[in-house]
């Protein structure tokens, strides 16, 4: 098998909180076009790793690479500027604002010419149209009204809008933090197919989830996190769920 060049990777990340070592020389790599699941026991340092990758914290040591170039993020906004989009568990949306408002929050489009430059007028029709298209492309066709406040959507729809927002703006990597945690079985299924759709459009995805069946269903590779570092990466087609759990909890050593 030929060596694939990872699109986003990290070497030897260390993050200490006082005497607690949350990341202990952790390595990480994400290949183009794949869904990489990150699993690990509670307290294994998954969230610290994700925070480092999404710019929410700055590692004490180690280096991250995006497309082979060394890179540092000063904040989540900075990471986003570099194409790393994160969908947080809380979704980070403004519930009272409309879907279109939310999708374009922080990157609004102004009207061309005088109305945009001088009157600072937003190009609402254009934003609505783009938002509608993005949702439609990802199959969120049941959302009738793009001016609907986000809080009137179901949990799955909200997740869908959050994913659509993250995938919409030429992002190069998508990080999804527990996307199905708050959802029922049916809606989880839909979100999973949504995730696969995004991957099929060529955007690689980092998926953090506690749900083993879901992880094994959609992931191309599984990064097992244990004691602050990457224990191993397994292929879900070759290993069983019980192997994964055993690795996670330390009951089994990686080969």
């Amino acid at each position: 098998m030929t060596e694939v060049k990872p699109i986003f990777s990290a070497e030897g990340l260390v993050k200490r909180y006082g005497r607690v070592v949350a990341l202990d020389h952790c390595d990480f790599d994400l290949n183009p076009g794949e869904i990489l699941a990150i699993i690990g026991d509670n307290g294994a340092g998954k969230s610290t790793l994700i925070k480092a990758l999404s710019g929410a914290i700055q590692p004490d040591e180690g280096q991250m690479y995006l497309n082979g170039q060394p890179i540092e993020f000063s904040s989540p906004v900075d990471a986003r500027r570099h194409g790393i989009e994160t969908v947080y568990q809380t979704l980070a949306m403004s519930p009272a604002l409309s879907i279109a408002d939310n999708m374009f929050m922080g990157r609004e489009i102004r009207r061309p010419g005088f109305r945009g430059c001088v009157l600072r007028q937003l190009d609402k029709p254009k934003m609505r149209k783009i938002a509608q298209e993005k949702l439609f492309n990802l199959g969120l066709t049941t959302i009738q009204n793009i001016d609907q406040p986000v809080e009137t959507l179901s949990g799955g729809q909200r997740q869908g809008v959050a994913v659509a927002r993250a995938a919409a703006f030429g992002s190069s990597v998508l990080i999804l933090d527990e996307p199905t945690a708050a959802l029922g079985v049916k809606e989880s299924r839909r979100v999973l197919s949504l995730i696969e759709q995004v991957r099929d459009r060529g955007i690689p995805i980092i998926l953090i989830s506690h749900n083993m069946p879901y992880v094994f269903e959609v992931a191309d590779r599984i990064h097992v996190h244990r004691l602050g570092r990457r224990l191993t990466v397994i292929d879900p087609r070759k290993r069983s769920m019980s192997d994964a759990v055993a690795l996670m909890t330390g009951a089994m050593e990686p080969d």
Binding site: P76, V77, R80, Y88, T90, L91, A92, M93, S94, P95, A96, L97, D101, N102, M105, G106, R107, E108, R110, L119, R120, Q121, L122, K124, L138, G139, L140, T141, T142, I143, Q144, D147, P149, E151, T152, L153, S154, G156, Q157, G160, E187, R189, R190, V191, S193, L194, Q197, D200
Partner: protein
């Protein structure tokens, strides 16, 4: 050609398998409507109260003179309520609005009459003074992370104390202003069309409401104000500079209050350090009756104009009917509680 067809087919098939989400039907049409048109309730209340008073009090109330008089009477509160609305939309509150207004008017008067500065210069300094106090409010809220209620409770007292210390509680008389610096009374100037009397202060209020509404709904900055009030953490993660928005909102609110101070001179004729003691409470009343949520992120600015007008209609209407002024307060109290109940209902319904 073949390839194109194939890709179309693939897309089509993909579409077939596309997951669909079932929308929630929990919302009734009424709540959706109220959600999208938060000013509809106060506007309805306003129209109904005008009609009721028009029927009961007859010609006296339902005349161009009386109806424009209401506008004149609520102009100051309406202007301050615009400032208050901006702050409340960010889930804050500004108790210092009235004090800023009065201090600004005192600065404009004192600099003109005691320091002998040209009135235009005094007015500019008075406006900057309001901007500065607003800026201080904003910096304390954004960077020191103090609750807005506490910050502005403090700056309210401080500003009011400075007002009395600086002015020595002295009133600058209307005749003196009219003779020496009539521009201070600019907003008291009137346009009369038949019986209808419109002051420049009223025109300023209407212009301000239109401008602010435009900014809130049609500019990125306006949408950011809603986002900050709705969920500051989400707004920050979406790339909104929350602190900057907060500082700008409080500073602009201070500036608007200073304009209200200028308009206050026009309304009273004189510069009076004792004026506007209840302005902060009255402005919050207008905003709340106007359907803007005290929890931030919801409401339309026009609502607070309607809120102020409702208060104006009630006080004038009841006075014409010869009712005790306490009836006005009683009814306003009921309206406040009703307005907040409706807000809670809308927020609960959709969550």
């Amino acid at each position: 050609m073949d390839q194109q067809d194939n890709s179309k087919k693939v897309l089509f098939n993909a579409n077939d398998e596309i997951p669909t989400f079932v929308g929630s039907d929990r919302q009734s049409h009424v709540t959706t409507y109220l959600h999208n048109n938060p000013a509809a309730v106060p506007l309805t209340v306003l129209l109904i109260s005008i009609i009721v008073f028009g029927v009961v009090a007859g010609e006296r109330f339902f005349s161009p003179f009386a109806l424009t008089l209401i506008f004149q009477q609520v102009a100051i509160i309406g202007i301050v309520a615009c400032a208050q609305s901006l702050v409340i939309l960010t889930a804050g509150i500004d108790l210092s609005v009235g004090a800023i207004m009065v201090l600004s008017s005192v600065v404009m008067g004192k600099l003109t009459f005691d320091q002998g500065l040209p009135p235009e210069v005094s007015i500019t300094i008075g406006l900057l003074c309001g901007l500065l106090i607003g800026l201080i409010n904003g910096l304390l809220v954004a960077f020191v992370k103090l609750p807005p209620f506490i910050v502005t409770l403090g700056t309210w007292q401080i500003t009011l104390a400075i007002n009395f210390l600086y002015s020595g509680s002295e009133v600058i008389r209307s005749q003196d202003i009219a003779r020496q610096a009539p521009i201070l009374q600019f907003f008291g100037g009137t346009i009369e069309v038949g019986d209808a009397v419109i002051t420049y202060g009223v025109l300023f209020l209407l212009g301000l409401v239109c401008l602010s509404s435009y900014v809130l709904s049609n500019t990125a900055w306006g949408r950011h104000i809603y986002a900050v009030g709705d969920d500051p953490v989400a707004a920050e993660l979406a790339g909104v500079s929350v602190n900057r928005v907060l500082i700008e909102v409080y500073a602009i609110a201070g500036l608007i209050c200073a304009f209200a101070g200028w308009a206050l001179i026009g309304r009273l004729g004189s510069v009076s350090p004792q004026a506007g003691q209840l302005t902060n409470i009255e402005s919050i009343t207008a905003v709340v009756i106007g359907g803007i949520s005290l929890f931030g992120g919801r409401g339309a600015l026009a609502g607070s104009l309607f809120g102020a007008l409702i208060v104006g209609v009630f006080s004038l209407g009841l006075r014409m009917l010869g009712a005790d002024v306490q009836w006005t307060y009683l009814l306003i109290g009921i309206l406040i509680i009703m307005a907040v109940t409706i807000d809670q209902y809308i927020r609960k319904k959709v969550l």
